[in-house]
């Protein structure tokens, strides 16, 4: 599942002077990425190289800032008035936080699946067609809707009730509908924020299997509380933690270690990572 890679990506120590360049194309490159909520520094100094066509998992205890970092990648943090982002975040060598970059255009290329399934109160068909329609695509959507639903492994279950409300689907089906909705706009990247935390193990298994197939077409970033899930699906894993600041006592998130998933789960460099994955902490 996780073939060993020749990429040296260990970010255990922030004091590395130069980051080794990735052997695979980087979709995202962050350096010193830091997010503030007002004066509160929620998570800071995150250096990551996200490889194309891979699944990267963010793990760590609650409050470590992994979801906050994830929401930087499609500028969803822009919607929170108090949020402020510092450091650099390159998407294919484009600074995502450049003044000239329109977050709306960013989000059409970088899709997102949320923690709680959030289908729109519309028909299944209209949910999938929503993104293409606001992107200005006109005409018959039948083929696009079918392809997207097939891509999310939902077509066979819903093909006879496309005009029925999406709210009548089960939780797992709703989440796959949200995935279909996200891939209907042909994104480059999918951000998944704890996509299975509201689902039962069977629905979770289906979505994990789906992610394995989707990585052919999309780069996937997933935040998960479930370490087994990270171990099962991801190629690389970033471990975040929250530590009390000496000066203020506030708990702030930081990136501890970023490496191949096999390394993180078998031979982590940092003892905090080891404590977390062996269940002694967090």
């Amino acid at each position: 599942m996780n073939e060993t890679r020749v990429i040296e990506t260990n970010r255990g120590d922030r004091d590395d002077e130069q980051l080794p360049s990735s052997a695979v194309n980087s979709v995202f490159t962050t350096r010193g990425l830091t997010v503030y909520y007002g004066d509160f520094r929620a998570v800071g100094d995150v250096d990551l190289d996200i490889a194309e066509g891979e699944i990267t998992a963010f793990i760590g205890p609650s409050g470590c800032g992994k979801s906050t970092i994830l929401r930087c990648f499609n500028r969803m943090n822009d919607l929170i008035d108090s949020a402020r982002v510092e450091g650099s975040l390159l998407y294919h060598d484009i600074d995502l936080y450049d003044d000239a970059v329109d977050p709306v255009a960013v989000r059409r290329r970088i899709g997102m699946v949320f923690q709680k399934p959030n289908p729109f109160p519309k028909s299944i068909f209209d949910n999938v067609a929503y993104g293409p329609r606001i992107s200005g695509i006109r005409g018959s959507m039948d083929e696009l809707v079918e392809t997207s639903l097939r891509g999310a492994g939902l077509w066979d279950e819903v093909k006879d009730r496309l005009d029925k409300s999406a709210l009548g689907l089960s939780g797992g089906q709703q989440q796959r509908l949200c995935i279909a909705r996200a891939i209907a706009v042909s994104p480059d990247v999918l951000l998944m924020d704890e996509p299975c935390s509201a689902l039962d193990p069977i629905a979770t298994g289906i979505i994990e299997e789906l992610m394995g197939e989707m990585k052919k077409d999309y780069t996937i970033l997933i935040v998960t509380h479930n370490m087994q899930q990270a171990a099962r699906v991801s190629d690389r894993t970033a471990f975040f933690t929250a530590e009390a600041d000496e000066a203020t006592g506030q708990r702030r998130g930081k990136l501890v270690e970023y490496d191949d998933t096999s390394v993180i789960f078998s031979n982590p460099a940092d003892e905090r990572t080891e404590a977390y994955i062996t269940g002694r902490f967090g």
Partner: protein
């Protein structure tokens, strides 16, 4: 410092698990008070309804059509409320056209665009206070602005002046109820739309407003009912107690003399009771029926929207 654990509890007996009614006296008293409150509330509504219907039954049963279709008259047998019905319906239309778009627009701005800073909060507090201003004050404002200053447009004491005055009266209610309906839309919906690359305008148009629409409709209907029941501001603005409908040009329909159903009620009530018994009550029944039908339209509309949203 810590409370010592009591250890394993004794084996349960049936008695220890039985409900002892006497122990929950306060709960029972509370429930009794709630029942009393509900009974009183419903009882009062029915008392009002029944007394109005009983008082008006004579007029309504003996000459219903004449009462509905005749204009005001000094003859109790001929007097009718058609002018009041016409005025009230025009007022409802003006309120719908003026107060709803402005009120809903203001609510969307306050909830979706305003920064939530001190200015926004001040405006919100001001709107809430305006909802509590006595209606007669709006009447005085309407007299000064719509009847006098803008006489050239409104024609003075006209249904336009009355409708605009009542639009102002209900505007805070529309803003408050629409704001609450918009705030109640789960952020997961707008997040989902933003996540697909929707602009703020697209999110508001395709998610926020449709989801908030049932709540907005409820508030709008309440405000129409409020507007249709007001007599005091119309009195100040100059609704006629009595006028004869001669030939009226199109503009005169809007700029000429007018009255409304609550004015009919008030006027009938002032007339000598020996000949005019029941007229005020009968006009009240007409107000209730008109409001009921407007409510019905809104309930049907809300049900259709809700169904379309699949909830």
């Amino acid at each position: 410092m810590s409370v010592k654990p009591a250890g394993r509890p004794d084996k349960p007996t049936l008695g220890s698990l039985q409900r002892s009614r006497s122990a929950d006296v306060r709960g029972q008293v509370f429930l009794g008070l709630l029942l009393l409150a509900v009974t009183l509330a419903i009882g009062m509504v029915f008392a009002v309804l029944l007394s109005v219907i009983a008082d008006g039954a004579d007029v309504l049963s003996s000459r219903l059509w004449g009462f509905l279709s005749n204009p005001s008259s000094s003859d109790p047998v001929k007097a009718g409320v058609v002018q009041g019905i016409r005025g009230s319906l025009l007022i409802a239309a003006i309120v719908s056209v003026v107060a709803f778009p402005i009120g809903i627009g203001a609510a969307v701005y306050l909830e979706e665009y305003a920064d939530g800073g001190p200015v926004t909060r001040t405006v919100e507090i001001a709107v809430r206070n305006l909802a509590g201003v006595p209606s007669i004050v709006y009447g005085l404002f309407g007299l000064a602005v719509f009847v006098n200053t803008l006489r050239g447009i409104t024609g003075g004491s006209s249904v336009i002046s009355g409708g605009l005055t009542l639009s102002l009266l209900v505007l805070p209610i529309v803003i408050i109820t629409a704001s609450e309906a918009i705030r109640a839309v789960p952020s997961s919906l707008s997040d989902g739309a933003y996540g697909l690359g929707a602009t703020q305008w697209e999110v508001i148009r395709t998610q926020t407003l449709p989801s908030a629409m049932p709540g907005i409709l409820t508030g709008s209907v309440l405000s129409i009912a409020r507007a249709l029941g007001e007599a005091a501001p119309l009195l100040v603005v100059g609704a006629a107690a009595f006028y004869t409908t001669g030939f009226q040009g199109f503009l005169d329909q809007f700029q000429g003399a007018f009255t409304a159903l609550p004015m009919n009620v008030a006027n009938f009530a002032k007339l000598p009771a020996d000949q005019w018994a029941g007229h005020a009550a009968a006009a009240s029944v007409v107000v209730l029926v008109v409001v009921f039908f407007i409510n019905l339209v809104a309930i049907v509309a809300r049900a259709r929207i809700t169904k379309r949203l699949g909830r």
